[in-house]
């Protein structure tokens, strides 16, 4: 055990280290930092503290969730006839809207926002309207609880779908990849009840809707991706189901989720 006092990391090293932890460095700069980390124990200790702080923050500090009331007010500002925004005053603590009314108003907003250019992703002639999947995701976010069954355990979620819908989509937990399972929900897509698995990404939710397509198999084709109303949407063919993922995470993050999910489903 040496008694030498470790030299403190220089200020620039600290900035580089933070940028490294934040994934903001290009490959060559990241490589430089990794080499420094191996050679410099005090820098390495600093790195471990930063990683520890990050995981504590992820676990302990959540993004706030806008209340139904606040969301509804903002939707109302965008709605037809909203020539002026509502007056700026302390909102009342009383919930004046039933969720059904609210869902209806949001559905209207979703249709208005899509400007009538509904996107269709066609499979074998059977169209699935992406807009309705996005609207369902949005409705779920508005509801008091975005989940019908809340569980991080796929062995709870899968039987729940079985019992509720007599459908058994693959339920995969991607906690190790940073997308922990949060639970499940029943959605209505094209007039059918279909299962949706809900995953968390930091403070965001990802809805993964499985639309039955019996006899289909994973064609291995690339997932299609689009955005609608600011939500990222990805769709692909899986075994017996067509899958649609929708979320307010960045499109490349959603693409990473899809890639992990498909890899795990094999």
């Amino acid at each position: 055990m040496t008694m030498s006092q470790p030299t403190p990391p220089l200020a620039d090293d600290r900035l580089l280290l933070d940028a490294y932890v934040d994934g903001e460095l290009d490959a060559s700069a990241a490589l430089g930092v990794e080499r420094r980390l191996e050679a410099d124990p005090s820098l390495k200790a600093e790195y471990e503290r930063l990683i520890a702080l990050r995981s504590a923050l992820r676990a302990g500090v959540r993004q706030d969730r806008a209340s139904d009331r606040l969301r509804e007010r903002v939707v109302a500002m965008a709605g037809p006839g909203a020539a002026r925004g509502p007056a700026f005053h302390r909102p009342s603590r009383v919930r004046t809207f039933e969720w059904r009314q609210m869902a209806a108003s949001v559905a209207v907003a979703a249709i208005a926002a899509s400007g009538g250019t509904a996107l269709y992703l066609r499979h074998d002639g059977a169209g699935v309207e992406i807009g309705s999947i996005v609207a369902e995701h949005r409705r779920a976010l508005l509801a008091t609880a975005p989940l019908d069954v809340e569980s991080t355990d796929k062995h709870t979620v899968k039987p729940w779908f079985d019992a509720k819908l007599a459908l058994s989509p693959q339920v995969i937990d991607l906690a190790a990849d940073g997308f922990p399972l949060a639970g499940g929900r029943v959605e209505v897509v094209g007039g059918r009840l279909v299962p949706a698995m809900i995953y968390r990404r930091r403070a965001h939710l990802i809805s993964l809707v499985a639309v039955p397509r019996l006899g289909g198999h994973d064609d291995g084709g690339a997932a299609s991706s689009s955005t609608q109303d600011g939500y990222a949407v990805a769709g692909w063919h899986g075994p017996d189901f067509d899958y649609f993922a929708v979320s307010d995470v960045a499109p490349d993050e959603l693409a990473a989720f899809v890639a992990e999910w498909r890899a795990a489903a094999k």
Partner: protein
Amino acid sequence: MADERQRQQFAEVVLPHLDAALSLARWLTGSLADGEDVVQEACIRALAGIGTLRDGSPRAWVLTIVRNTAFSWLRKNRPKALVVTDDDSVFEAADLASMDRGATQNPEALLIAKADADLLNSAIAALPLNFKEILVLREIDGLSYREIAEVVSLPIGTVMSRLSRARKLLIVTIGRSRNEAQGAA
């Protein structure tokens, strides 16, 4: 007055980032109710100013408006909270405190990782405002450095140094509370 197309654009741009907006406003004002007021006011401004939306990050555009609205609110309602600091003395103490456990293998990291939510929340709340906003934008709202620089209108270098210092302060605060807890035991 916003026309139909502008209101559509407003909904597309603002709704996906409402949680991020509320988080920023809540942390800057210090309370959920005040944060909601600020978000509503910011939305009115965003709708009125939707024509100023340019290519680039819509999220940064929304949060810029929320931040500016929050600062207006603070000026009016909490002028004392607006004392911003770039004072190095806050951080010199932090440097010293974190150095006394330099290179030894790191049980400390484990304790930081296990810091409880109350402690983290109060440590963030205690950060000087101009450090807090950058930490919240990065760690809670998940913005990139470039987006943060846009929101707070500062060079990226300043964003990086404030973020780094904010984290260091949190680490020291957590370490200190642990030592106090041990002292009390």
